[in-house]
């Protein structure tokens, strides 16, 4: 009885939904959708805005980019909601592959992490190269440190750096923001705290931040990105094509050039074809 009353309403809603979608022309019917799950920092850098059109020009796929945290990206791959992943958390990636969720993993590129902090440098770490001793001093002086605390690639790296420094960060000086890199940089600037950031996000926001680079250049701060084709994905062919493309000379050239015009230096460095 109740259902019968509701049915016409449902019918009307469905009809509206059909009307709403009817107007959208499907220009190229032969194009299939490729879902790329990546991290917010990758998407925020703007690299994909250059890379994806170049890929779409050569292949009959429309890339839909979902920018999420590394954890969520891997989880989406696990659920086969995404066809291909572009992430930067080597340890988690290896776990993902070991669990059989990925068909193939390829190194793509790297950028590097830097430790930034307030110009006043209360912990006195400016100019140090090794991140371990620098972090140990921050902890020792109880200088404010902002952590993303979101299990992202950056956060995972930060954790391993603390571990290497032999410090378990805790206390009022250790701020866990649970937000993306851009927001965490903003909070660090406001609170005059140190933080670990990828260079590209920092460069993109530098003008609006009261933060300066304190520590850089150590091999332990390199940040490699990998592409993973999801095992049993809906669009296996597209995933393969995408992984092949960004590791091809063409894709690698785009990566190497990206950011030079805006920042005067590249944001990412190719790992396959240098």
């Amino acid at each position: 009885m109740k259902l019968r009353k509701v049915m016409p309403a449902i019918g009307i809603i469905l009809a509206f939904m059909m009307l709403a979608t009817a107007g959208c022309p499907r220009r190229e019917v032969e194009r299939t959708e490729l879902i790329l799950a990546t991290t917010t920092s990758t998407a925020d850098s703007g690299l994909l805005d250059v890379l994806n059109p170049a890929f779409e020009e050569r292949h009959p796929f429309t890339v839909k980019t979902i920018a999420v945290g590394t954890g969520e990206a891997l989880r989406l791959g696990e659920q086969k909601e995404a066809d291909v992943l572009l992430v930067h958390a080597r340890r988690l990636e290896d776990q993902f592959m070991a669990a059989g969720h990925g068909a193939r993993r390829l190194d793509v590129m790297y950028n590097d992490f830097v430790i930034v902090g307030p110009p006043g440098d209360p912990a006195g770490i400016r100019g140090m190269t090794a991140p371990g001793p620098a972090l140990a001093r921050v902890a020792e002086r109880q200088a404010l440190f902002a952590s993303r605390g979101d299990n992202s690639g950056t956060h995972v790296r930060e954790n391993s750096l603390w571990q290497a420094a032999g410090v378990t960060p805790a206390g009022a000086w250790y701020i866990s923001t649970g937000q993306g890199m851009g927001d965490t940089l903003r909070i660090s600037s406001e609170k005059q705290a140190y933080t670990l950031t990828d260079r590209s996000t920092y460069l993109a926001q530098k003008d609006r931040l009261e933060l300066e680079i304190m520590v850089q250049g150590d091999p332990g701060l390199l940040n490699p990105y990998g592409v993973i084709e999801v095992q049993g994905a809906k669009n296996v062919e597209g995933a393969q094509a995408f992984a092949d493309f960004i590791t091809s000379p063409e894709g690698q050239r785009i990566i190497a050039e990206f950011g030079k015009d805006r920042f005067g230096q590249p944001l990412f460095f190719p790992l396959v074809h240098r």
Partner: protein, 235 residues
């Protein structure tokens, strides 16, 4: 199925009663509760005044209030941030990324909702009611009290809408609070974080907790109102 597993896991997490989750929930309640109380204290008299007073520019102000009811939290968050960031005009207060500024942002969201719905609550009363009270010898203030009492159900809905609007919003608390663990992290920002980390079960558990809290607060408000009605009836 993911959803079934997530739900099962969510309930298991809820029953485990994690101390951190309780602290997050308590902060949510404190921030949004305080914001709602302030919005009611300011917005209800404002709404009643707008409904009853006659002055030039009234229609314009009502238009503003009604527009404010649909204010996107992100806009509020951004505006408050620009004001309270260290470089901003109010930066000297140093309350950015504290619960205080979260309350402020949520007041800006809830105030137009409470004021607008209070205004509508009074306006939907029969216009004769005001004259009837006056003609029975009520003073202006007594008349206002009577009208508010007559409109108490929609008034209560105004409070609930205000509270519901802020307890569930994420845009402004994320921006002005910063989602700092143990300090400004509330249920909604925690849900965003857990979702980003791919911990959907936890996010869902927090969502269920949020709903349960909303429901409890509304149930308490409703029962207070019912008791109030009985007291009046008892005369």
């Amino acid at each position: 199925m993911l959803i079934v597993n997530s739900l099962r896991e969510a309930f298991r997490l809820l029953l485990a009663v994690d101390r951190e989750i309780l602290e997050i929930a308590w902060l949510s309640l404190r921030v949004s509760g305080t914001a709602t109380v302030i919005s009611v204290l300011l917005g209800m008299p404002a709404g009643v005044f707008l409904a009853l007073a006659r002055f030039p520019g009234k229609a314009f102000i009502i238009g503003l209030v009604n527009t404010g009811m649909g204010l996107p939290p992100v806009v509020v968050g951004l505006t408050v941030s620009l004001l309270f960031w260290r470089a901003g005009p109010m930066g000297f207060l140093g309350i950015m990324y504290t619960p205080a500024v979260m309350v402020l942002a949520q007041v800006l969201i809830a105030l137009p909702i409470v004021a607008g719905l209070s205004l509508a609550a009074i306006q939907q009363l029969s216009p004769g009611l005001r004259l009837q009270a006056l003609s029975l010898g009520a003073s202006r203030l007594q008349t206002v009290f009577l009208l508010v009492r007559e409109a108490r159900l929609p008034m209560l809905a105004a409070i609930m809408a205000g509270f519901g609007g802020v307890i569930s919003e994420v845009g402004s608390v994320m921006m002005v609070g910063g989602n700092i663990k143990g300090h400004t992290r509330v249920l909604t920002t925690a849900m965003v974080l857990e979702t980003r980390m791919g911990r959907f079960e936890m996010a869902l558990a927090l969502g269920i907790l949020l709903l349960a809290m909303s429901f409890t607060v509304n149930a308490i408000l409703t029962s207070v109102q019912q008791r109030g009605a009985r007291r009046w009836t008892g005369g």
